[in-house]
Amino acid sequence: MAGAVHVENEHSPRLPRGFERGRAARRRRDTAAALALVSPSVLLIGVFGIFPLFFTAYVSLFNWRLAGGRFLALGNYAELLGPGVLPLVGVVLSVGAIVAGALLVRHGADPSARSRRWTGLAVLAAGAASFVLVLPRLAAQGDSEVFDSFRVTVWYALLTVPVQLVAGLALALALTRKVRGRQLFRVVYLLPYVAPTVATAAIFQLLFSLRPDSSANQVLALLGIHPLQWLQEPGGIVPLLFGGGAGAGAVAPAGGVAPGVVASYWAQWASGPSLALVSIIFYSWWVFVGYYALIYINGLMAIPRQLYEAAEVDGAGPARRFLSITLPLLSPTTYFLTLLGVIGTFKAFTQLYVLRSPAAAAGTDTISVEVFFTFFRKARLGYAAAISLVLFLIVLGLTLLQQRTLERGVTYGE
């Protein structure tokens, strides 16, 4: 490579005569040098980062075991999403309508476009209604294990990201005060994030074990509550909190009649995340709040002090200063953390693998864990490839959506 990286020693590139020709030659040489410099990265990322995407798509068309297999065309996808195409089309259209409606509502914010806002609301409502009706049909005909893992992933994202954002910001605000020992606190709060996940998750495996003398159960005992199964508990937390069957009963009112596909599907949602997943969510809070705080501290430091001083002169109280200076100027940080957090949920593996118990696996396996076991335990490479591609499409969609919606609400400093 070094040969291509020779440089032009033109001492005066601004000579008028032959200038154009010299510049073209220089440019060619520069391009050659640049290509030589980027080639190791491009080659490696190309082979192990870009090509695999297409290769996965190819593998997903086969009944691929460890040494290749029969061509199935879309057979894996039919197993994953069910044989009927209509429910899938329905779900995609519903999501499209929800997004389009939401965008119209946003555009309708200025008074000249009031009618658009109402159209937007109508489209949004129609999309949401059909989503509620069609998704259960897709789930009923598809692979129930994969759809369960999808539900787990959504619960995991919903209960980790927002909590970590709020707690992280609160902690960051506290740690930017002039508090004694705040440097020590910063170090301590980051420890859970810094330590290797396999090891810290192993600790939580003991803290939240089903033994009556596990730490979690001893704390419950102090509150007069009898021991729970924690990481081994596949049951949803809603019935656990409000007595058996209450969650399902509220959703499926049709007394003796067998509940329809739609009602029984949403009843599963209504029972909430499994207690096992909630235990893993506690772990996630413990790990990530300090990390979110660190990122927020950086954002807070970047806010010019004069803004606060000026606001104070204008008589703005602390709450007002927080709402109209701190929060808007932190929005790029919040945007970044939200994106990172949601994508992180779809990528999360280590803690879910370590804290997984066979008894509660259905309640804690997210999509990425499902892909892993389909490959690792069942050796169904083709099917795992198909699931991972659907996962990729979901992450891609979410990323694009977040870029469109959240980025607009982001105020960049200066």
């Binding site: 990286v5 440089v7 020693n9 440019r27 640049a34 410099l37 980027v38 990265s41 491009v42 080659l43 490696l44 990322i45 192990f48 980062g49 695999p52 995407l53 593998v59 691929w64 506290a174 930017t176 002039k178 508090v179 170090v187 301590v188 709060y189 420890l191 859970p192 810094v194 330590a195 290797p196 396999v198 090891a199 810290t200 600790i203 939580f204 495996q205 003398d213 730490s215 001893q218 413990w286 990390y291 660190l294 606060y308 602390p318 970044f336 953390l337 779809f346 990528k347 593996f349 280590t350 892993f372 490959f375 690792f376 490479l381 795992a384 991972s388 591609l389 990729f392 992450v395 990323t399």
Partner: protein
């Protein structure tokens, strides 16, 4: 949340005596202390359990570090020796160390070269190429599991060091991060180097890299840590203890040790200590590295 002292300019604040202890401030410190206790107690639990006897892990238990039952009566240091011999931890440690060091060095090299080209040389297709590389960052690891396993097996790298390192030897995020900093090196410095006849490689390694040691440290550090902590790919890409890293060793050890919590915790301590030592030595760079990538990402 408004606390008047918080608004005193830094220079003035430094000259003032310690801030007054108002009830609000005391409450804040108390709250932070409770939170800090929550953050460290699991580590203390790990340390204390790793020093208990098997009987004590069953009878002397408490969730709170301020209760005597939380701690062992007499520390059983032999647990560590037992854990160490039960699993091939010395082998695993060496494997993790080599794998992480090789990966970090490779990423440092490849991304310095590429970042220099993207930041400092105007060439056709540079923007498109850069965006294509960056786009790979949103692809979840699960997508790579199947194709890269097939690829690595066909290359004969299954259960080999190459299989654990080569797929991760270049990283779009590292290129992105370094490019930001390489672009800030003043033009004049590079131009004067060129006048002296320095080629691109010379100006990269004698000018740009020394001026960007902090972000380069960040890249090396985070790559090392990422490799050290990775579990999913090594589970798939190793079969024997030959190159099996500590993470995989620890998870298999956990099932081998069965209900012997003291041994599992001793294993966890063994896995955590190298990282904590590194953190203690380079705490400032560590936080800066994480904060920097956080903000720039």
């Amino acid at each position: 949340m408004g606390n008047e002292e918080g608004r005193v300019p830094e220079a003035l604040a430094a000259a003032l005596p310690r801030p007054r202890l108002t009830p609000a401030r005391a409450a804040l410190v108390a709250l932070l202390a409770v939170g800090g206790l929550v953050a460290v107690s699991p580590f203390l639990y790990m340390a204390s359990t790793s020093l208990k006897s098997l009987a004590e892990t069953l009878t002397r238990v408490s969730p709170f570090p301020f209760q005597p039952d939380f701690w062992p009566k007499t520390p059983e240091w032999s647990n560590y020796a037992q854990a160490w011999t039960l699993a091939s931890f010395s082998r695993y440690l060496r494997n993790s160390l080599v794998t992480a060091a090789v990966t970090a060095a490779a990423v440092g090299g490849t991304s310095c070269l590429a970042a220099y080209a993207f930041a400092r040389i105007r060439f056709t297709g540079s923007r498109v190429l850069f965006s294509v590389l960056l786009a790979t960052l949103i692809i979840p690891e699960s997508v790579y599991l199947v194709p890269n396993f097939i690829l690595v097996s066909r290359l004969g790298w299954y259960d080999r060091l190459a299989g654990l390192t080569v797929p991760f030897a270049a990283n779009a995020f590292a290129i992105f991060l370094l490019r930001q900093f390489f672009a800030q090196v003043p033009r004049e410095i590079l131009e004067s180097a060129r006048m002296d006849g320095a080629g691109h490689l010379r100006s990269l390694f004698s000018m740009v890299v020394p001026l960007s040691s902090a972000p380069l440290f960040t890249v090396l550090f985070l790559t090392f840590l990422g490799s050290w902590n990775s579990l999913q790919w090594p589970l798939v890409a190793t079969r024997t203890a030959r190159w099996r890293p500590l993470t995989v060793g620890l998870t298999t050890f956990n099932s081998d040790a069965g209900p012997q919590n003291q041994l599992i915790m001793a294993g966890a301590v063994i896995a955590i200590i190298p990282v904590i030592v590194l953190y203690a030595l380079a705490q400032k760079q560590f936080t800066e590295a994480i904060a920097r990538t956080g903000i720039k990402g």
